[in-house]
Amino acid sequence: MVNLGFGENVKLRSYKIVLIPFFALIVLIILFIYAATTGYGKLRSQKQIIDELERDDTTLEAKINNLKNLEAQTYPDSTEMLIRFPNDNPSLWMLGQLIRKGEESAVTLFEQTLLFDEASLENITVSTINFQVTGNKEKIFDYLLSIDNISPISTFDSVDFSESETAQQGALVSLKVYFSPLPEVLTNLNEVVNELTPLEVTTLNKLSEMELPEFSTLMPSANYELKDPFNSFQ
């Protein structure tokens, strides 16, 4: 090895010419790998967020347009629908409806019983009203058929006419009344609200034809003077 006198040997200097750019390249490769993995990962996640946001925005815009269209359409009053298909047990006021309709149809109702058995049918709760009805056979038929047109929604479980050879007949009726809680959650933010199907519209129209009960509101009585029971001269 030849010494130049400056503490540096020629061979090492020759290698330095190669080693410095070589190490620079190694450093670059490491930097490149780091930047590529980090940068690509970050770009990918950002792209994913953008795609999701764009998709959500498109869905939201569609939902808003859809709701604006629905808002412009005329649908039956949802509050009235809640009387026709209530969310609370309507047995008691249905009984009132049955008696009122009975008076209109010239039949007599007696021995009404309510069974709050509340058997559930696909999230619909059922309560049963049993009653006896007497009257002319045709009138009973008319009465039974008219029940279908009164609120709340009901169906016959069974109807048993008692043995009678006279014009006056009696029938034991078991009527089911239905109620169901309202949905507690609305559709997801990114879910489009579907329009009412023709069948749903037909069903709602059918429900709309059902007679609503006459709920009477009790008004407070006017002020009056209370007599003092201990003052006989008053």
Partner: protein, 176 residues
């Protein structure tokens, strides 16, 4: 013409091969660094643009959500109506007894003379009733009327009894 004159002793001159290799590596490193910085800059720019776009999209989403909040009442109404309609349809579909009563009521309006119908019982799509006939002729007419009508899917004729009063009685079960 200028000439390059190297006065260094030959043993001090670095290996030509290594010098060439070093120069090549140096050139490669410089090009690579330029390329790296360009690529890194592009990635940084793309990230900046993406970030800006995300912010825009989030702002747009907030506006849309606010707009949707204003339409919540309509949405609630539609959801309620849909719920009621679907459930009511299930109830209407299950209302077979009423259909039986309607059909039987129409059937009852056209029964032949000399026939008395009593003890009707309705359960779902099935109706059972007792028939009292004045004589065999009336009973025969009644049976023909029941069979002839197209509203019943199935007819079950019960035992025919002849009473002391000369009247015939039977029970008929029909599937409507």
């Amino acid at each position: 013409m200028a000439r390059n004159i190297n006065l260094l002793p030959l043993e001090f001159v670095p290996n030509k091969k290594l010098v060439r290799m070093g120069a090549a590596l140096k050139k490669l490193a410089i090009i690579s660094y330029i390329f790296f910085f360009l690529a890194a800059g592009s990635i940084a720019y793309a990230l900046y643009r993406y970030d800006k776009h995300i912010k825009e999209l989030r702002n747009n989403r907030n506006t849309l959500e606010a707009e949707l909040d204003n339409l919540k009442k309509t949405e609630t109404k539609i959801v309620y109506l849909k719920d009621r309609a679907d459930k009511a349809q299930k109830v209407i579909d299950a209302n077979t007894t009423r259909s039986s009563i309607v059909t039987f009521s129409e059937f009852d309006n056209h029964i032949p003379p000399g026939i008395l119908i009593s003890d009707m019982a309705f359960r779902g799509s099935r109706a059972t009733f007792k028939v009292a006939a004045e004589n065999s002729g009336s009973l025969s007419q009644m049976v023909q009327y029941v069979i002839g009508t197209t509203v019943f899917k199935a007819i079950i004729l019960g035992d025919i009894k002849l009473g002391e009063n000369g009247k015939y009685t039977t029970t008929i079960t029909v599937e409507i």
